[in-house]
């Protein structure tokens, strides 16, 4: 699956999202739960702002010196016998990964959850080679079985599915016979995947943070699938976005602590695993061969620009969990594997304004995202910068917006027209009014009234009321 999901245009996707009432309820309850858990975790820590300041400082320093830390990481991976491939593009990354798979004559590849491998459509490349690629994260496994349904949240990818749908998918694709109880579904996935873990030729993972000083990669999970993917197969390939690195283990502490708390409200997830190259001499389990693929894919174009801080992101989804827009339209509406506020910032940077020009407008600029971000990315400011770029440099203001702005500037420039407009509103709208509400509005208010009522325009304008009112009191 590439970064871009599907070909339906933005409003079509939003429309579909708004009409999916299960998804909308699921999103609301997930947001409430994750947001609450995060707030508790932050409160428990006491000096959350200090932690945020430290995290921001670490991310800034690391990104400013990224070439140095990547070089240090590379030296240390090689010293342990691991191989490092720098990929400028998704194609280069896939070309290398398929080459390694061919050399290993791999038939079965087991994967743990990784956004970056989604970004480069790695599975497609490997499947084209004839490899079976199996997602082992429970959420990803469900989506993969359900004919590659795209993820809708970066931490809880199958958020939009209910357990009955999951039961049906398991039953249809894998002959599952039990109930839709989550425990039974999870146990079934455990049994199915155990066999795959034991027989896979290659394990592929993403990377939460690399640790430059040791040539280590770290994986943050709850299910244990990343540990299985890196303990049993003979070859391990890890793909990392080039910005996902810390100088030493001491900074790993801070960012992992912030990631776990911000993503799910846990102090630490069940498994934080640090892996350093292939297994040591004399070890039994762990890979014999280790490959690290470091990916640019548009990231270096963000460095040195006003958007550099977007690369500080640690993929916790805290911004997604507080976003009022995401709450209503859901993850798929963003048309990118990176949804929510960070997705609205990142997707146009990585995928271009042509495909993602609407996303910076899918925000009320309420700044809840900026406040939630554990590494202090000024997300809503970055969205405003995008809007400015879209309008100023690319002339891509939407037609409706341009028309509305022109209309308003005309109306507002003449008191007569303005007053005529506000006076005529009740009359113009009268055919649409029922029980004091506009239920099926015309033109620009249609998208609004499709899903909720609009209040009837006041029969009296503010100016009229102001003129008529008694001095110093109500009318």
């Amino acid at each position: 699956m590439p970064m871009k999901i599907g070909d339906v245009e933005f409003f079509g996707r939003v429309d579909k999202g708004l009409r999916n009432s299960f998804m909308r309820n699921a999103v609301v309850s997930a947001q409430e739960r994750l947001k609450g858990a995060k707030l508790n975790a932050a409160e428990e820590l006491g000096d959350w702002e200090e932690w945020r300041n430290l995290s921001e400082e670490i991310r800034q320093h690391t990104l400013e010196n990224l070439d140095y830390y990547l070089e240090e990481l590379t030296e240390n991976v090689c010293k342990q016998g691991g191989h490092v491939f720098f990929a400028q593009t998704a194609e280069e990354a896939n070309e290398y990964i398929t080459r390694v798979s061919k050399e290993k004559k791999a038939k079965k590849i087991i994967k743990s959850k990784s956004m970056v491998t989604e970004e480069i459509s790695m599975n497609d490349a490997l499947e084209a080679l004839g490899c079976e690629v199996i997602e082992s994260d429970l959420g990803e496994y469900i989506l993969q079985l359900d004919d590659h349904d795209p993820p809708s949240h970066i931490v809880a990818p199958a958020l939009h599915k209910n357990k009955e749908q999951i039961r049906e998918t398991f039953s249809e694709k894998k002959g599952y016979k039990k109930t839709s109880k989550p425990e039974e579904l999870a146990l079934f996935a455990r049994e199915q995947l155990r066999a795959d873990f034991l027989s896979a030729d290659i394990g592929i993972t993403g990377c939460n943070f690399a640790v430059a000083e040791s040539g280590a990669i770290s994986l943050v999970t709850n299910e244990g699938n990343a540990r299985l993917s890196t303990s049993l197969p003979k070859t391990q390939i890890t793909v990392m976005g080039m910005e996902r690195i810390v100088p030493t283990w001491e900074e790993l502490d801070i960012l992992v602590s912030m990631l776990c708390r911000s993503a799910v409200g846990q102090k630490l997830t069940s498994y934080i695993t640090g892996l350093i190259g292939p297994k040591d001499k004399g070890d039994v389990d762990g890979p014999e061969e280790f490959h690290l693929v470091i990916l640019d894919n548009g990231r270096s174009n963000i460095l040195g620009t006003e958007f550099q801080s977007a690369l500080h992101c640690i993929r916790c989804a805290a911004c997604i969990n507080v976003c009022p827009i995401y709450r209503h339209i859901g993850g798929h509406s963003y048309g990118s594997i990176y949804p929510g506020p960070i997705g609205a910032v990142l997707s146009p940077l990585l995928g271009g304004y042509e495909d993602y020009k609407e996303l910076p407008y899918a925000s009320s600029l309420c700044a809840a995202c900026t406040e939630a971000c554990p590494v202090k990315i000024p997300l809503h400011d970055l969205l405003v910068k995008h809007r400015r770029n879209i309008v100023e440099e690319h002339g891509k203001g939407t037609f409706g917006e341009k028309l509305a702005m022109r209309g308003f500037s005309l109306a507002a420039s003449s008191p007569k027209i303005f007053s005529m407009g506000s006076k005529s509103a009740p009359t113009v709208m009268s055919p649409f009014i029922k029980d004091g509400k506009v239920k099926k509005g015309p033109g620009p208010i249609k998208p609004w009234t499709d899903i909720r009522d609009f209040p009837e325009p006041s029969k009296q304008s503010f100016r009229e009321w102001f003129k008529k009112r008694d001095k110093g009191g109500d009318q």
């Binding site: 400082e57 490092v84 357990k163 989550p182 034991l198 280590a216 069940s270």
Partner: protein, 239 residues
């Protein structure tokens, strides 16, 4: 060990430097003294007993059973805990501490009582993995223990296979009380020092906090997914 291969590094890093608007960093970059360091304040002056209390409270929240015992009573405690699992097979690290704490005696007794006890043995290679996969219980020591998050830190080694804490249905960690520190900060500081002093660290370092779990189905917490379904910590208070 033979060094690994590197591809396309120069071009890639040059591009980064160019984007940042400067020359490549070729001299070592000093890690700054961070202005904010709240991590060291967590449980700063807590005593060993207080840390043990914090560990216990946190473990309640992460579905992990905690038992405390003394070295003398350790084997009785193991009997009680393992009886509960109705275990037919146990897999254990090969670590000198098992002998030091007298746990080898427990293994011998269990073996005589018909339980299949396997001590990790690098000489039989992958058979260790097959045995672990079928085992009811996996037992390791904790190398460092984190009170705040209820975490045992495990360093891999020839006798300390990764599978023992991962593949069996039930996982037991033996925690010497003296290994308990406030939080991840102390553990990562230790690993950082290890790297600086020895120039390397073990190939796998695991921070394990309770049993595996997932909330991927309708945000319902399911305990026990790919890793162990239960986790039990036995704290040895006089070590």
């Amino acid at each position: 060990m033979k060094n690994g291969a590197v591809h396309n590094k120069e071009q890639f890093l040059n591009q980064i430097a160019k984007s940042l608007g400067r020359e490549r960093r070729t001299t070592p970059v000093a890690r700054p003294q961070w202005k904010h360091q709240p991590q060291w304040n967590v449980l700063k002056n807590a005593t060993e007993d207080e840390l043990l209390d914090v560990l216990g409270t946190q473990c309640d929240r992460i579905h992990t059973r905690v038992e405390t015992t003394t070295c003398l009573e350790l084997n009785n405690m193991l009997t009680t805990v393992i009886e509960h699992f109705d275990a037919k097979s146990i897999v254990s690290w090969d670590d000198p501490r098992f002998k030091e704490y007298g746990i080898n005696d427990y293994y011998e007794n269990a073996g005589r009582a018909g339980v299949d006890v396997h001590i990790w043995d690098p000489s039989i290679g992958e058979k260790n993995i097959i045995i672990s996969e079928r085992a009811d219980v996996g037992i390791t020591f904790a190398d460092i223990t984190l009170a705040e998050s209820g975490t045992v830190v495990l360093f891999s080694d020839n006798g300390k296979g990764r599978s023992v804490s991962l593949l069996p249905t039930n996982y037991i960690a033996i925690i010497p009380k003296s290994t308990i520190v406030p939080r991840m900060t102390q553990a990562t500081h230790y690993i950082h020092k290890m790297e600086q002093e020895n120039g390397n660290v073990p190939s796998c370092i695991n921070f394990i906090s309770g049993p595996s779990n997932s909330a991927d189905i309708e945000m319902n917490l399911v305990v026990g997914v790919h890793g162990p379904i239960t986790a039990t910590y036995i704290v040895v208070t006089d070590r």
